[in-house]
């Protein structure tokens, strides 16, 4: 670790010298730099983000030679290169490898086959194993897969294994978290400037922290387990500048559905998506996660949001690992630029059967629905439930269709049952949901978002129409091949639950 830290410091020294992209593009002040700021001007240095650094070699402290985007810089640092270009293939050192119960057993199988039965993982503290997909099921093979993870973690002495043994009561499992991407953030594994690989396509969620994070397959993950390295192609970056005040009826989900509708489900294939602008700066961490979570739905390799005070504050107390954020250079070359005036946008949905099948929520007001689902890595975070509760509270009415609530993690579940909803006179989300007639919030897991075993809670076993805060609406995604899924924000989902039709949340929020 020591050598890689100094190498990282060396590589990044070159980057801190010039003006940053965000400052150059966004009209609002964006000098949120911290941490590495020793060579930059006017930055507030926070203790949490300004760790002690190994001294730098004089040769490494020269001016910027190659202007790079944030993603390029992270990969340059991780590959100990002074500069690199999109399209280059580089070996990077992986900071965190995450796997779960669906892909973990296969990854472990490949690791054992290729490196030997007695092989050890490259670093027991950098492997994070999170059972979350198929937990609350009587499916024997699914249960066995969690056992495989446990055996491996015991054998390898894996430091971060969020185990569950008592399936009848998730609260009896203090280590159990729930949905991996949200758990990674909540447990401090998402850190600016680092490389996170996971055997799940929504690993890109962690880009919200200014981390390079992307999904890989079992074979690549098996290789990383043994070596700590991965061969990655440097993606060109598409920049999305989101400016303007966020209207009170919009959420980050509307923004990303808007963007995917704009560029299509393959518009960012092999590319990085960088989100900047005053709107992005105003978003809290969970909303930034929603943005980055769905870059894969545009084909993106990763998404990034520049780390700022919001990021550093979120990370306070969550990690003791030193990290060093990096930012795009003002002269960095972007593959293309998109600008959005967020104040003019309206609530949108993605109609069946593609995340880019965008429509205004109000255009779909005649679509009768059978159920609403609020949950998943995309739409099952604390802020998502607070948003839904806000709509139920504003309406004071009861839902007209079954409304399923699956908190992403144990922490989110606790928040749903304990945090007072603003303007409610101290009521919790759970109380508001109960008054509105929703189903009782279920045990935290990926749940029905991807179908899963037949007995999964809220799985679509009939060809129904569902408004969902999840991320994909491909045929069969939530269980039934003829099911129809409308992807929407928690506001729109809650509003739709109240009417039984796809509904613009302005009907209740204004």
């Amino acid at each position: 670790m020591a050598s890689s830290v100094s190498a990282a410091a060396k590589a990044s020294a070159a980057f801190t010298h010039k003006k940053e992209l965000a400052a150059a593009t966004a009209p609002a002040p964006t000098q949120h730099r911290a941490g590495t700021g020793r060579r930059t001007k006017a930055c507030r240095v926070r203790a949490v983000a300004s760790p002690a650094r190994a001294p730098r070699a004089p040769a490494s402290t020269g001016s910027v030679k190659t202007a790079m985007t944030m993603t390029e810089k992270i990969l340059a640092r991780a590959s100990e290169r002074a500069g690199l270009e999109p399209g280059e293939n580089v070996w990077v050192d992986v900071d965190v490898l995450m796997t779960h119960d669906v892909c973990g057993p296969g990854t472990i199988g490949i690791f054992k086959k290729e490196f030997g039965e007695d092989a050890k993982v490259w670093n027991r503290e950098k492997v994070v194993i999170i059972p979350d997909h198929y937990i609350f099921t009587s499916d024997e093979r699914a249960n066995r897969n969690v056992d495989i993870l446990r055996d491996f973690c015991m054998e390898q002495n894996i430091k971060y294994f969020y185990d569950i043994k008592d399936l009848s009561n998730f609260k009896a499992n203090p280590d159990y978290k729930g949905v991996c991407h949200v758990a990674l953030a909540q447990e401090g594994h998402c850190r600016p400037g680092e490389v996170l690989l996971g055997t799940d396509s929504h690993t890109c969620n962690a880009g919200a922290f200014g981390q390079f994070a992307t999904g890989i397959g079992n074979t690549d993950a098996g290789f990383v387990l043994g070596t700590g390295k991965a061969l990655l192609k440097v993606p060109p970056t598409i920049r999305f500048v989101l400016d303007g005040e966020m209207p009170p009826y919009l959420l980050a989900k509307d923004l990303i559905l808007q963007i995917i509708g704009e560029i299509s489900v393959s518009g960012a294939t092999y590319k990085s998506m960088e989100f900047v602008g005053s709107t992005v700066e105003s978003l809290n961490m969970e909303e930034r996660m929603t943005l980055c979570n769905m870059v894969i739905e545009a084909g993106g390799k990763n998404g990034v949001v520049p780390a700022d005070e919001t990021t550093f504050k979120y990370l306070e107390g969550k990690t003791s690992v030193d990290y060093e954020p990096v930012y795009s250079d003002a002269q960095a070359r972007f593959f293309s630029d998109y600008q959005f005036d967020v104040s003019k946008l309206e609530p949108v949905v993605a109609k069946p059967h593609s995340p880019d099948n965008r429509a205004l929520a109000r255009e779909c007001k005649d679509v009768k629905i059978d159920r609403v689902y609020i949950g998943s890595c995309t739409g099952g975070k604390t802020e998502d439930f607070l948003a839904a509760a806000k709509v139920f509270l504003a309406s004071g009415k009861k839902v007209k269709v079954p409304t399923f609530l699956v908190p992403a993690t144990q922490k989110v579940w606790m928040d749903v049952y304990s945090l007072p909803v603003p303007g409610s006179g101290g009521k919790t989300c759970s109380q508001i949901f109960e008054e509105a007639g929703c189903d009782t919030p279920a045990s935290p897991s990926c749940g029905a978002c991807l179908g899963g075993p037949r007995d999964t809670y809220a799985r679509m076993n009939e060809p129904m129409v569902c408004v969902s805060t999840t991320n994909r609406n491909f045929p069969g995604r939530m269980g039934h091949k003829e099911g129809q899924i409308y992807l929407a924000s928690p506001y729109t989902a809650a509003a739709s639950a109240l009417t039984g039709y796809v509904t613009d949340p302005r009907d209740f929020l204004m």
Partner: protein
């Protein structure tokens, strides 16, 4: 990954026809294909993407300097744009662990089980079967989008498909196909081929000449060279390739 192949690969369509001319009539080729299918081992281990016909052997010999010279011949299974991994292998089957041989086989039997039956009345794997009769999958743009599940290329390979011929691929599916060596993810040089093909058409994929031939319609399409990824798939995936080429020790530690 997609580095250009040596120029020797870029032969003309005429040349490829010459190479392919000794090919037997489609019906007998089917028998051969079936024969080869029975050779496939239901494990993750490297499968030989070897020549299937005497013509292929000739092509391999002639194109010695070309990185990938395999020829696949058989029936095509045709799908459209944006075929996502949920349609390739629905999530309810992801409890199957691909590195376990019996579960690997089972994954194959569920390949393309997620395709809506209305749009795709012919199943990729016939009910009760473990493998498919279709050697080649023909698709549109963005094939394999969605999840990172390696079960997707594994299911196709386990079912017996050898190559996917599509307009473009989602990144993770492409990478997983190469890393596992399960199927060749081949890109068509031009758009629209899948609209001119239908399931059951007799086709040939000729890697050495980078062409895809539909014998039923009589049309021929240029493929983008598979480049450096070809030998990796041919070896049976990244680990097998790395061992074969001496990048890593030839045998796993005991």
């Amino acid at each position: 990954m997609a580095a250009a192949a040596p120029s020797v690969v870029a032969t003309t369509a005429g040349a490829s026809t010459a190479v392919l001319s000794p090919r037997p009539a489609p019906t007998s080729a089917f028998l051969r294909r079936t024969h080869v299918t029975s050779h496939r081992h239901p494990t993750l281990k490297c499968r030989r993407a070897g020549p299937l016909t005497p013509a292929a052997a000739a092509a391999a010999a002639a194109g010695g300097s070309s990185p990938s010279s395999a020829v696949f011949h058989g029936e095509a299974f045709v799908v459209g744009d944006n075929i996502d991994t949920d349609q390739i292998i629905p999530a309810e089957h992801l409890t199957l662990v691909p590195s376990k041989p019996d579960e690997y086989r089972k994954l194959g039997s569920f390949a393309f089980a997620g395709l809506p039956s209305a749009a795709y009345p012919t199943p990729f794997v016939a009910p009760g079967e473990e493998s498919t009769r279709y050697a080649v999958i023909v698709g549109g743009a963005n094939f394999g989008c969605g999840s990172s599940r390696e079960h997707a290329p594994v299911a196709l390979g386990a079912a017996g498909a050898r190559a996917v011929v599509a307009e473009s691929y989602a990144r993770i599916f492409f990478r997983n196909s190469v890393a596992t060596g399960e199927v060749y993810p081949l890109e068509l040089a031009d758009a629209g081929a899948w609209k001119e093909c239908k399931t059951g058409d007799v086709v040939t994929v000729d890697l050495g000449n980078s062409v895809f031939i539909n014998h039923t319609s009589g049309k021929e399409y240029k493929l983008k060279p598979i480049g450096d990824a070809g030998p990796v798939i041919e070896a049976g995936g990244i680990f097998a390739y790395a061992r074969k080429t001496g990048m890593i020790a030839s045998k796993a530690a005991a």
